[in-house]
Amino acid sequence: MAFDRSDVEKIAHLARIAISEDEIPATTAKLSGILSLIDQMQAVDTTGIEPLAHPLETTQRLRPDSVTEQNQRDAYQAIAPATEAGLYLVPKVIE
Protein backbone atom coordinates (compact mmCIF):
# COMPACT_ATOMS: atom_id res chain seq x y z
CA MET A 1 0.00 0.00 0.00
CA ALA A 2 1.21 3.52 -0.76
CA PHE A 3 0.14 6.77 0.85
CA ASP A 4 -1.60 9.49 -1.06
CA ARG A 5 -1.97 13.15 -0.23
CA SER A 6 -5.17 12.73 1.77
CA ASP A 7 -3.61 9.98 3.94
CA VAL A 8 -0.70 12.25 4.77
CA GLU A 9 -3.02 15.15 5.57
CA LYS A 10 -5.10 12.94 7.83
CA ILE A 11 -2.11 11.50 9.72
CA ALA A 12 -0.54 14.95 10.05
CA HIS A 13 -3.77 16.17 11.59
CA LEU A 14 -3.84 13.24 14.05
CA ALA A 15 -0.22 13.97 15.00
CA ARG A 16 -0.90 17.73 15.24
CA ILE A 17 1.95 18.53 12.90
CA ALA A 18 1.56 21.32 10.36
CA ILE A 19 2.89 20.30 6.95
CA SER A 20 3.19 22.98 4.31
CA GLU A 21 1.81 22.55 0.82
CA ASP A 22 5.41 22.35 -0.54
CA GLU A 23 6.33 19.52 1.82
CA ILE A 24 3.42 17.24 0.98
CA PRO A 25 4.74 15.57 -2.22
CA ALA A 26 8.14 14.65 -0.74
CA THR A 27 6.61 13.58 2.57
CA THR A 28 4.10 11.38 0.75
CA ALA A 29 6.83 9.72 -1.31
CA LYS A 30 9.13 9.10 1.65
CA LEU A 31 6.35 7.77 3.87
CA SER A 32 5.29 5.40 1.09
CA GLY A 33 8.85 4.09 0.90
CA ILE A 34 8.92 3.49 4.65
CA LEU A 35 5.51 1.82 4.50
CA SER A 36 6.67 -0.66 1.88
CA LEU A 37 9.66 -1.50 4.09
CA ILE A 38 7.35 -2.07 7.06
CA ASP A 39 4.95 -4.13 5.00
CA GLN A 40 7.60 -6.87 4.68
CA MET A 41 6.26 -7.97 8.06
CA GLN A 42 2.99 -9.06 6.51
CA ALA A 43 4.68 -11.98 4.71
CA VAL A 44 5.39 -13.72 8.02
CA ASP A 45 2.93 -16.05 9.68
CA THR A 46 2.65 -15.03 13.33
CA THR A 47 -0.38 -17.13 14.20
CA GLY A 48 -0.25 -18.14 17.85
CA ILE A 49 2.74 -15.92 18.67
CA GLU A 50 2.28 -13.81 21.79
CA PRO A 51 3.23 -10.14 21.32
CA LEU A 52 6.34 -9.01 23.26
CA ALA A 53 5.99 -5.55 24.82
CA HIS A 54 8.99 -5.63 27.12
CA PRO A 55 12.19 -7.63 26.56
CA LEU A 56 12.34 -8.95 30.13
CA GLU A 57 8.55 -9.30 30.37
CA THR A 58 8.41 -7.68 33.75
CA THR A 59 5.41 -5.69 34.89
CA GLN A 60 5.46 -2.15 36.19
CA ARG A 61 6.49 -1.90 39.82
CA LEU A 62 4.11 -0.40 42.35
CA ARG A 63 5.27 1.91 45.10
CA PRO A 64 3.63 2.98 48.36
CA ASP A 65 1.01 5.67 47.83
CA SER A 66 2.91 8.38 49.65
CA VAL A 67 4.05 11.89 48.74
CA THR A 68 7.61 11.82 47.39
CA GLU A 69 7.78 14.95 45.25
CA GLN A 70 7.79 18.56 46.29
CA ASN A 71 6.06 21.33 44.40
CA GLN A 72 8.50 22.65 41.77
CA ARG A 73 6.10 24.87 39.87
CA ASP A 74 8.38 27.91 39.84
CA ALA A 75 11.32 25.90 38.48
CA TYR A 76 9.21 24.25 35.80
CA GLN A 77 7.41 27.41 34.78
CA ALA A 78 10.68 29.32 34.48
CA ILE A 79 11.22 27.52 31.16
CA ALA A 80 7.63 27.82 29.88
CA PRO A 81 6.90 29.95 26.80
CA ALA A 82 4.17 31.97 28.57
CA THR A 83 2.81 31.90 32.12
CA GLU A 84 0.80 34.19 34.37
CA ALA A 85 -0.03 33.83 38.05
CA GLY A 86 1.26 30.25 38.09
CA LEU A 87 -0.75 29.22 35.03
CA TYR A 88 0.38 28.26 31.52
CA LEU A 89 -1.00 30.64 28.91
CA VAL A 90 -2.46 29.44 25.59
CA PRO A 91 -4.63 31.21 23.00
CA LYS A 92 -8.24 31.71 24.00
CA VAL A 93 -10.19 28.44 23.75
CA ILE A 94 -13.68 29.52 24.86
CA GLU A 95 -15.17 32.74 23.51
Binding site: I11, A12, I17, L31, L37, I38, M41, Q42, P81
Partner: protein
Protein backbone atom coordinates in the same frame (compact mmCIF):
# COMPACT_ATOMS: atom_id res chain seq x y z
CA UNK B 1 47.61 13.97 28.44
CA UNK B 2 44.92 13.20 25.88
CA UNK B 3 46.96 10.23 24.59
CA UNK B 4 46.19 8.41 27.82
CA UNK B 5 43.22 6.12 28.23
CA UNK B 6 40.69 6.74 30.98
CA UNK B 7 42.26 4.02 33.13
CA UNK B 8 45.70 5.61 32.71
CA UNK B 9 44.34 9.07 33.51
CA UNK B 10 42.70 7.63 36.61
CA UNK B 11 46.11 6.40 37.82
CA UNK B 12 47.77 9.72 36.96
CA UNK B 13 45.12 11.69 38.86
CA UNK B 14 45.29 9.54 41.97
CA UNK B 15 49.10 9.55 42.03
CA UNK B 16 48.84 13.36 41.61
CA UNK B 17 51.03 13.32 38.48
CA UNK B 18 48.31 15.53 36.97
CA UNK B 19 45.42 17.46 38.46
CA UNK B 20 41.84 17.41 37.28
CA UNK B 21 42.01 21.17 36.63
CA UNK B 22 45.04 20.63 34.35
CA UNK B 23 43.29 17.79 32.55
CA UNK B 24 40.09 19.80 32.15
CA UNK B 25 41.94 22.85 30.85
CA UNK B 26 43.80 20.63 28.40
CA UNK B 27 40.59 19.20 26.95
CA UNK B 28 38.89 22.62 26.86
CA UNK B 29 41.83 23.92 24.85
CA UNK B 30 41.58 20.98 22.46
CA UNK B 31 37.84 21.52 22.03
CA UNK B 32 38.51 25.15 21.16
CA UNK B 33 41.22 24.13 18.70
CA UNK B 34 39.45 21.27 16.90
CA UNK B 35 35.73 21.36 17.44
CA UNK B 36 34.96 24.27 15.11
CA UNK B 37 35.53 21.88 12.20
CA UNK B 38 34.33 18.69 13.89
CA UNK B 39 31.09 20.01 15.49
CA UNK B 40 31.01 17.23 18.08
CA UNK B 41 29.75 19.44 20.93
CA UNK B 42 26.46 21.35 20.99
CA UNK B 43 27.27 23.07 24.29
CA UNK B 44 30.65 23.38 26.00
CA UNK B 45 30.48 24.12 29.74
CA UNK B 46 33.95 25.44 30.72
CA UNK B 47 32.94 27.17 33.95
CA UNK B 48 31.01 24.21 35.29
CA UNK B 49 33.81 21.88 34.18
CA UNK B 50 36.51 23.83 36.02
CA UNK B 51 34.35 24.08 39.14
CA UNK B 52 33.82 20.30 39.08
CA UNK B 53 37.56 19.81 38.46
CA UNK B 54 38.44 21.86 41.52
CA UNK B 55 35.97 19.82 43.59
CA UNK B 56 37.54 16.63 42.22
CA UNK B 57 41.05 17.80 43.09
CA UNK B 58 39.90 18.54 46.62
CA UNK B 59 38.42 15.04 46.88
CA UNK B 60 41.64 13.49 45.60
CA UNK B 61 43.69 15.56 48.09
CA UNK B 62 41.37 14.44 50.89
CA UNK B 63 41.79 10.78 49.92
CA UNK B 64 38.10 10.53 48.98
CA UNK B 65 38.57 9.65 45.32
CA UNK B 66 37.12 6.81 43.28
CA UNK B 67 38.47 5.58 39.94
CA UNK B 68 36.50 8.22 37.99
CA UNK B 69 37.13 11.22 40.23
CA UNK B 70 38.56 14.06 38.16
CA UNK B 71 38.03 12.37 34.78
CA UNK B 72 36.70 14.76 32.11
CA UNK B 73 33.70 13.37 30.21
CA UNK B 74 31.16 14.58 27.66
CA UNK B 75 27.49 13.65 27.82
CA UNK B 76 25.15 13.08 24.93
CA UNK B 77 22.78 16.04 24.78
CA UNK B 78 19.84 13.78 25.58
CA UNK B 79 20.70 13.35 29.26
CA UNK B 80 19.05 16.13 31.25
CA UNK B 81 21.68 18.18 33.06
CA UNK B 82 20.28 20.61 35.59
CA UNK B 83 20.88 24.26 34.69
CA UNK B 84 22.49 23.35 31.35
CA UNK B 85 20.75 23.40 27.98
CA UNK B 86 19.61 19.93 26.97
CA UNK B 87 18.62 20.22 23.31
CA UNK B 88 18.38 16.60 22.14
CA UNK B 89 19.74 17.95 18.84
CA UNK B 90 16.43 19.70 18.16
CA UNK B 91 15.17 23.21 17.53
CA UNK B 92 12.27 22.12 19.73
CA UNK B 93 14.55 22.10 22.79
CA UNK B 94 17.09 24.74 21.71
CA UNK B 95 15.89 26.92 24.62
CA UNK B 96 15.42 24.07 27.12
CA UNK B 97 17.45 24.47 30.31
CA UNK B 98 16.86 21.17 32.10
CA UNK B 99 15.28 21.72 35.53
CA UNK B 100 16.59 18.42 36.88
CA UNK B 101 19.50 15.98 36.54
CA UNK B 102 19.27 12.56 34.88
CA UNK B 103 20.17 9.55 37.01
CA UNK B 104 23.14 8.66 34.77
CA UNK B 105 24.71 12.14 34.92
CA UNK B 106 23.95 12.38 38.66
CA UNK B 107 25.82 9.11 39.20
CA UNK B 108 28.78 10.56 37.32
CA UNK B 109 28.63 13.73 39.45
CA UNK B 110 28.62 11.54 42.57
CA UNK B 111 31.64 9.65 41.20
CA UNK B 112 33.44 13.00 40.91
CA UNK B 113 33.67 13.31 37.13
CA UNK B 114 33.91 16.58 35.21
CA UNK B 115 31.42 17.41 32.44
CA UNK B 116 33.14 19.24 29.57
CA UNK B 117 29.90 19.71 27.67
CA UNK B 118 26.98 18.14 25.80
CA UNK B 119 27.59 16.30 22.56
CA UNK B 120 25.89 16.56 19.20
CA UNK B 121 23.45 13.89 18.09
CA UNK B 122 20.78 13.08 15.58
CA UNK B 123 17.61 14.97 16.46
CA UNK B 124 15.81 13.09 19.27
CA UNK B 125 18.28 10.22 18.60
CA UNK B 126 16.53 9.46 15.30
CA UNK B 127 19.24 8.78 12.78
CA UNK B 128 22.32 6.77 11.95
CA UNK B 129 24.60 9.48 10.61
CA UNK B 130 24.29 12.53 12.88
CA UNK B 131 23.01 14.50 9.89
CA UNK B 132 19.54 15.11 11.33
CA UNK B 133 20.85 17.37 14.13
CA UNK B 134 19.47 20.92 14.25
CA UNK B 135 23.07 21.93 15.03
CA UNK B 136 24.50 20.51 11.81
CA UNK B 137 26.33 17.31 10.93
CA UNK B 138 29.31 16.03 12.89
CA UNK B 139 32.42 15.05 10.94
CA UNK B 140 34.25 11.78 11.39
CA UNK B 141 37.77 12.48 12.77
CA UNK B 142 39.11 9.62 10.62
CA UNK B 143 37.93 11.35 7.43
CA UNK B 144 36.04 14.61 7.58
CA UNK B 145 34.06 13.82 4.41
CA UNK B 146 32.44 10.88 6.21
CA UNK B 147 29.78 10.62 8.89
CA UNK B 148 30.72 9.55 12.43
CA UNK B 149 27.57 7.42 12.63
CA UNK B 150 24.59 8.11 14.81
CA UNK B 151 22.70 8.88 16.76
CA UNK B 152 25.53 9.28 19.32
CA UNK B 153 27.77 10.75 16.60
CA UNK B 154 28.99 13.73 18.62
CA UNK B 155 30.06 11.50 21.52
CA UNK B 156 31.86 9.18 19.08
CA UNK B 157 33.70 12.00 17.29
CA UNK B 158 34.62 13.75 20.56
CA UNK B 159 36.16 10.58 22.06
CA UNK B 160 37.87 9.57 18.81
CA UNK B 161 39.42 13.05 18.40
CA UNK B 162 40.48 12.99 22.06
CA UNK B 163 38.29 15.96 22.98
CA UNK B 164 37.24 14.14 26.19
CA UNK B 165 38.40 10.99 28.00
CA UNK B 166 35.14 9.18 27.28
CA UNK B 167 31.47 9.94 26.72
CA UNK B 168 27.98 8.71 27.32
CA UNK B 169 25.73 7.55 24.53
CA UNK B 170 22.33 5.96 24.14
CA UNK B 171 21.35 3.04 21.96
CA UNK B 172 17.79 2.50 20.69
CA UNK B 173 18.62 0.72 17.43
CA UNK B 174 22.42 0.80 17.42
CA UNK B 175 23.17 4.42 18.35
CA UNK B 176 26.15 3.53 20.57
CA UNK B 177 27.52 0.55 18.66
CA UNK B 178 27.29 1.84 15.08
CA UNK B 179 29.10 5.17 15.74
CA UNK B 180 31.67 3.32 17.91
CA UNK B 181 32.28 1.05 14.90
CA UNK B 182 32.62 4.04 12.56
CA UNK B 183 35.22 5.76 14.77
CA UNK B 184 37.32 2.86 16.20
CA UNK B 185 35.88 3.14 19.71
CA UNK B 186 34.58 0.60 22.18
CA UNK B 187 30.94 1.17 23.08
CA UNK B 188 28.56 -0.90 25.13
CA UNK B 189 24.76 -1.15 25.00
CA UNK B 190 23.72 -2.75 28.27
CA UNK B 191 20.81 -5.12 28.86
CA UNK B 192 17.51 -3.25 28.76
CA UNK B 193 16.86 -2.10 32.34
CA UNK B 194 20.50 -2.22 33.47
CA UNK B 195 21.06 1.56 33.23
CA UNK B 196 18.38 3.99 34.39
CA UNK B 197 16.45 5.86 31.72
CA UNK B 198 15.33 8.55 34.15
CA UNK B 199 16.16 11.97 32.75
CA UNK B 200 17.02 10.57 29.31
CA UNK B 201 14.75 12.28 26.79
CA UNK B 202 12.65 9.38 25.56
CA UNK B 203 12.64 8.20 21.96
CA UNK B 204 11.36 4.59 22.08
CA UNK B 205 10.98 3.67 25.73
CA UNK B 206 10.97 -0.13 25.35
CA UNK B 207 14.27 0.01 23.43
CA UNK B 208 16.25 3.01 24.80
CA UNK B 209 19.32 2.22 26.87
CA UNK B 210 22.27 4.41 27.90
CA UNK B 211 25.84 3.19 27.89
CA UNK B 212 29.53 4.15 27.73
CA UNK B 213 31.65 5.07 24.69
CA UNK B 214 35.39 4.96 25.29
CA UNK B 215 38.76 3.98 23.85
CA UNK B 216 38.77 0.40 25.09
CA UNK B 217 36.88 -2.22 27.09
CA UNK B 218 38.79 -1.50 30.29
CA UNK B 219 37.56 2.11 30.22
CA UNK B 220 34.00 0.99 29.42
CA UNK B 221 34.06 -1.28 32.48
CA UNK B 222 34.94 1.66 34.75
CA UNK B 223 32.20 3.81 33.21
CA UNK B 224 29.51 1.12 33.29
CA UNK B 225 30.29 0.53 36.96
CA UNK B 226 29.14 4.07 37.69
CA UNK B 227 26.12 3.96 35.34
CA UNK B 228 24.56 0.58 36.11
CA UNK B 229 22.17 -0.26 38.90
CA UNK B 230 18.62 -0.08 40.12
CA UNK B 231 16.81 3.26 40.06
CA UNK B 232 13.37 3.51 41.64
CA UNK B 233 12.65 6.51 39.39
CA UNK B 234 12.75 4.35 36.24
CA UNK B 235 9.75 2.02 36.15
CA UNK B 236 11.60 -0.52 33.98
CA UNK B 237 14.88 -0.41 35.89
CA UNK B 238 15.99 -3.90 36.93
CA UNK B 239 16.70 -4.54 40.61
CA UNK B 240 19.59 -6.96 40.24
CA UNK B 241 23.11 -6.87 41.74
CA UNK B 242 25.79 -5.09 39.71
CA UNK B 243 28.98 -7.17 39.37
CA UNK B 244 32.49 -5.72 39.48
CA UNK B 245 32.98 -5.18 35.75
CA UNK B 246 36.76 -4.69 36.03
CA UNK B 247 37.36 -7.82 38.12
CA UNK B 248 36.74 -10.32 35.31
CA UNK B 249 38.52 -8.49 32.47
CA UNK B 250 41.50 -10.82 32.62
CA UNK B 251 39.56 -14.08 32.71
CA UNK B 252 40.67 -16.63 30.13
CA UNK B 253 38.64 -17.19 26.96
CA UNK B 254 39.47 -20.92 26.93
CA UNK B 255 36.35 -22.90 26.17
CA UNK B 256 34.31 -19.78 25.31
CA UNK B 257 31.76 -20.61 22.61
CA UNK B 258 31.30 -17.85 20.04
CA UNK B 259 28.52 -18.03 17.45
CA UNK B 260 28.62 -16.54 13.97
CA UNK B 261 25.07 -15.92 12.72
CA UNK B 262 25.05 -17.03 9.09
CA UNK B 263 22.34 -14.46 8.23
CA UNK B 264 24.79 -11.66 9.07
CA UNK B 265 27.44 -12.81 6.62
CA UNK B 266 25.34 -12.84 3.48
CA UNK B 267 24.97 -10.50 0.53
CA UNK B 268 25.32 -6.80 1.31
CA UNK B 269 28.29 -7.19 3.64
CA UNK B 270 31.33 -5.23 2.52
CA UNK B 271 34.28 -7.54 1.72
CA UNK B 272 36.82 -5.68 3.86
CA UNK B 273 34.44 -5.88 6.81
CA UNK B 274 33.94 -9.60 6.24
CA UNK B 275 37.72 -10.10 6.08
CA UNK B 276 38.23 -8.16 9.32
CA UNK B 277 35.68 -10.31 11.14
CA UNK B 278 37.34 -13.43 9.74
CA UNK B 279 40.67 -12.26 11.16
CA UNK B 280 39.00 -11.58 14.53
CA UNK B 281 37.58 -15.10 14.49
CA UNK B 282 41.14 -16.46 14.10
CA UNK B 283 42.29 -14.28 16.97
CA UNK B 284 39.52 -15.57 19.23
CA UNK B 285 40.38 -19.15 18.25
CA UNK B 286 44.00 -18.47 19.15
CA UNK B 287 42.77 -17.28 22.55
CA UNK B 288 41.03 -20.60 23.10
CA UNK B 289 37.50 -19.83 21.94
CA UNK B 290 35.46 -22.32 20.00
CA UNK B 291 33.60 -20.95 16.94
CA UNK B 292 30.23 -22.25 15.80
CA UNK B 293 27.90 -21.25 13.02
CA UNK B 294 24.47 -20.35 14.37
CA UNK B 295 21.24 -19.03 12.90
CA UNK B 296 19.06 -16.04 13.74
CA UNK B 297 16.38 -16.90 11.18
CA UNK B 298 14.15 -13.86 11.77
CA UNK B 299 16.96 -11.29 11.70
CA UNK B 300 15.84 -9.73 8.43
CA UNK B 301 12.48 -8.87 9.97
CA UNK B 302 14.16 -6.71 12.61
CA UNK B 303 14.20 -3.54 10.52
CA UNK B 304 10.52 -3.61 9.49
CA UNK B 305 9.47 -4.43 13.08
CA UNK B 306 11.74 -1.74 14.53
CA UNK B 307 10.37 0.89 12.16
CA UNK B 308 6.92 0.23 13.55
CA UNK B 309 7.74 -0.13 17.26
CA UNK B 310 10.21 2.76 17.55
CA UNK B 311 8.09 5.31 15.61
CA UNK B 312 4.93 4.20 17.45
CA UNK B 313 6.57 4.76 20.83
CA UNK B 314 8.14 7.99 19.56
CA UNK B 315 4.80 9.36 18.37
CA UNK B 316 3.47 8.83 21.88
CA UNK B 317 6.56 10.12 23.72
CA UNK B 318 6.93 13.20 21.53
CA UNK B 319 3.30 14.22 21.99
CA UNK B 320 4.51 16.08 25.09
CA UNK B 321 6.12 18.72 22.88
CA UNK B 322 3.09 20.95 22.46
CA UNK B 323 4.45 24.49 22.71
CA UNK B 324 2.73 25.01 26.06
CA UNK B 325 4.92 23.94 28.97
CA UNK B 326 8.50 24.07 27.65
CA UNK B 327 10.41 24.10 24.41
CA UNK B 328 9.66 25.85 21.15
CA UNK B 329 6.46 27.83 20.60
CA UNK B 330 5.52 29.29 17.20
CA UNK B 331 4.96 33.05 16.81
CA UNK B 332 1.44 34.49 16.98
CA UNK B 333 -0.67 31.32 17.17
CA UNK B 334 -4.20 31.98 15.89
CA UNK B 335 -5.79 29.39 18.19
CA UNK B 336 -4.86 26.36 20.27
CA UNK B 337 -4.74 23.94 17.31
CA UNK B 338 -2.55 26.37 15.39
CA UNK B 339 -0.29 26.62 18.45
CA UNK B 340 0.13 22.82 18.59
CA UNK B 341 0.49 22.14 14.88
CA UNK B 342 2.82 25.01 14.00
CA UNK B 343 4.99 24.63 17.14
CA UNK B 344 5.46 20.97 16.22
CA UNK B 345 5.71 21.57 12.48
CA UNK B 346 8.37 24.27 12.94
CA UNK B 347 10.13 22.80 16.00
CA UNK B 348 10.73 19.27 14.70
CA UNK B 349 13.05 18.42 11.80
CA UNK B 350 12.11 16.31 8.78
CA UNK B 351 13.20 12.89 10.08
CA UNK B 352 11.51 13.35 13.45
CA UNK B 353 8.28 14.39 11.73
CA UNK B 354 8.46 11.36 9.45
CA UNK B 355 8.82 8.99 12.38
CA UNK B 356 6.00 10.64 14.32
CA UNK B 357 3.77 10.33 11.24
CA UNK B 358 4.69 6.66 10.71
CA UNK B 359 4.04 5.93 14.38
CA UNK B 360 0.76 7.83 14.40
CA UNK B 361 -0.36 5.82 11.39
CA UNK B 362 0.70 2.49 12.94
CA UNK B 363 -1.28 3.25 16.10
CA UNK B 364 -4.33 4.74 14.38
CA UNK B 365 -7.73 3.10 14.51
CA UNK B 366 -7.99 0.10 12.21
CA UNK B 367 -4.24 -0.35 11.74
CA UNK B 368 -3.07 -1.32 15.24
CA UNK B 369 -3.28 -5.09 14.71
CA UNK B 370 -1.67 -4.99 11.28
CA UNK B 371 1.28 -2.91 12.42
CA UNK B 372 2.00 -2.48 16.12
CA UNK B 373 0.72 -5.86 17.27
CA UNK B 374 2.31 -7.61 14.30
CA UNK B 375 5.64 -5.94 15.07
CA UNK B 376 5.45 -7.03 18.70
CA UNK B 377 4.86 -10.62 17.61
CA UNK B 378 7.91 -10.43 15.36
CA UNK B 379 9.79 -8.98 18.31
CA UNK B 380 8.97 -12.21 20.17
CA UNK B 381 10.33 -14.28 17.26
CA UNK B 382 13.55 -12.30 17.32
CA UNK B 383 13.93 -12.73 21.08
CA UNK B 384 13.28 -16.48 20.67
CA UNK B 385 16.05 -16.63 18.04
CA UNK B 386 18.52 -15.19 20.56
CA UNK B 387 17.37 -17.48 23.37
CA UNK B 388 17.85 -20.52 21.12
CA UNK B 389 21.29 -19.28 20.05
CA UNK B 390 22.43 -18.76 23.64
CA UNK B 391 21.72 -22.39 24.38
CA UNK B 392 24.54 -23.24 21.98
CA UNK B 393 26.96 -20.34 22.44
CA UNK B 394 28.07 -17.83 25.09
CA UNK B 395 28.37 -14.85 22.75
CA UNK B 396 27.59 -13.89 19.17
CA UNK B 397 30.15 -12.16 16.93
CA UNK B 398 29.12 -10.06 13.93
CA UNK B 399 29.85 -6.74 12.21
CA UNK B 400 28.32 -3.52 13.59
CA UNK B 401 27.45 -2.25 10.10
CA UNK B 402 27.48 -3.61 6.54
CA UNK B 403 30.15 -1.05 5.51
CA UNK B 404 32.57 1.41 7.14
CA UNK B 405 31.39 5.04 7.56
CA UNK B 406 29.63 6.38 4.47
CA UNK B 407 29.97 9.90 3.08
CA UNK B 408 28.13 12.90 4.49
CA UNK B 409 25.08 13.47 2.27
CA UNK B 410 25.24 10.02 0.67
CA UNK B 411 22.01 8.70 2.19
CA UNK B 412 20.32 11.88 3.27
CA UNK B 413 17.57 11.84 0.63
CA UNK B 414 16.68 8.19 1.04
CA UNK B 415 15.52 7.35 4.58
CA UNK B 416 15.02 3.65 3.81
CA UNK B 417 18.63 3.20 2.63
CA UNK B 418 19.78 4.84 5.87
CA UNK B 419 17.51 2.59 7.95
CA UNK B 420 19.03 -0.49 6.33
CA UNK B 421 22.50 0.40 7.66
CA UNK B 422 21.27 -0.64 11.13
CA UNK B 423 20.58 -4.22 10.05
CA UNK B 424 23.11 -5.78 12.46
CA UNK B 425 22.43 -3.66 15.54
CA UNK B 426 18.63 -3.46 15.79
CA UNK B 427 18.01 -7.10 16.77
CA UNK B 428 19.77 -6.62 20.14
CA UNK B 429 17.48 -3.71 21.01
CA UNK B 430 14.34 -5.63 20.10
CA UNK B 431 15.46 -8.60 22.21
CA UNK B 432 16.87 -6.34 24.96
CA UNK B 433 20.20 -8.19 25.07
CA UNK B 434 23.54 -6.41 25.63
CA UNK B 435 26.16 -5.78 22.96
CA UNK B 436 29.64 -4.32 22.81
CA UNK B 437 31.17 -2.77 19.70
CA UNK B 438 34.92 -2.61 19.20
CA UNK B 439 37.34 -1.93 16.37
CA UNK B 440 38.42 -4.91 14.24
CA UNK B 441 40.51 -3.25 11.53
CA UNK B 442 40.61 -0.51 8.93
CA UNK B 443 39.75 -0.14 5.26
CA UNK B 444 40.97 2.87 3.26
CA UNK B 445 41.73 4.68 6.49
CA UNK B 446 38.24 4.14 7.93
CA UNK B 447 37.60 1.97 10.99
CA UNK B 448 35.76 -1.36 10.78
CA UNK B 449 33.61 -2.24 13.77
CA UNK B 450 32.54 -5.59 15.12
CA UNK B 451 30.20 -6.42 17.96
CA UNK B 452 29.77 -9.14 20.52
CA UNK B 453 26.24 -9.82 21.74
CA UNK B 454 25.52 -11.81 24.87
CA UNK B 455 22.66 -13.13 27.01
CA UNK B 456 20.82 -10.83 29.43
CA UNK B 457 23.13 -9.26 32.04
CA UNK B 458 26.31 -10.68 30.47
CA UNK B 459 28.02 -7.25 30.33
CA UNK B 460 30.94 -8.44 32.47
CA UNK B 461 31.59 -11.35 30.10
CA UNK B 462 31.33 -9.14 27.00
CA UNK B 463 33.80 -6.67 28.52
CA UNK B 464 36.11 -9.58 29.35
CA UNK B 465 35.98 -10.93 25.78
CA UNK B 466 36.58 -7.48 24.28
CA UNK B 467 39.41 -6.77 26.72
CA UNK B 468 41.15 -10.07 25.93
CA UNK B 469 40.90 -9.31 22.19
CA UNK B 470 42.38 -5.86 22.87
CA UNK B 471 45.30 -7.38 24.78
CA UNK B 472 46.31 -9.11 21.54
CA UNK B 473 45.42 -6.49 18.89
CA UNK B 474 46.16 -2.79 18.56
CA UNK B 475 43.25 -1.41 16.48
CA UNK B 476 41.83 0.33 19.55
CA UNK B 477 45.10 2.14 20.24
CA UNK B 478 45.16 3.91 16.88
CA UNK B 479 44.28 7.58 16.78
CA UNK B 480 43.09 9.64 13.82
CA UNK B 481 45.84 11.79 12.26
CA UNK B 482 45.84 15.49 13.01
CA UNK B 483 44.30 15.30 16.49
Amino acid sequence: MHEKTLAELSQALRSKAISSVELTQHYLKRIEQFDGALNSYITVTPELALEQARTADARIAAGDAGPLTGIALAHKDLFCTQGVRTSCGSKMLDNFIAPYESTVTQRFIDAGTVMLGKTNMDEFAMGSSNESSFYGPVRNPWNSEHVPGGSSGGSAAAVAARLCAAATGTDTGGSIRQPAGFTALTGLKPTYGRVSRWGMIAYASSLDQGGPMARNAEDCALLLQAMAGFDPKDSTSVDAPVPDYSASLNDSLKGLRIGLPKEYFSAGLDSATAAAIEAAVKQFQALGAEIKEISLPNAELAIPAYYVIAPAEASSNLSRFDGVRFGYRCDNPADLTDLYTRSRGEGFGAEVKRRILVGTYALSAGYYDAYYLKAQKIRRLIKNDFMAAYEQVDAILCPTSPTPAFRIGEKIDDPVSLYLTDIYTITANLAGVPGIALPAGFANGLPIGMQLLGPYFSEARLLNIAHQYQQHTDWHTRAPAGY
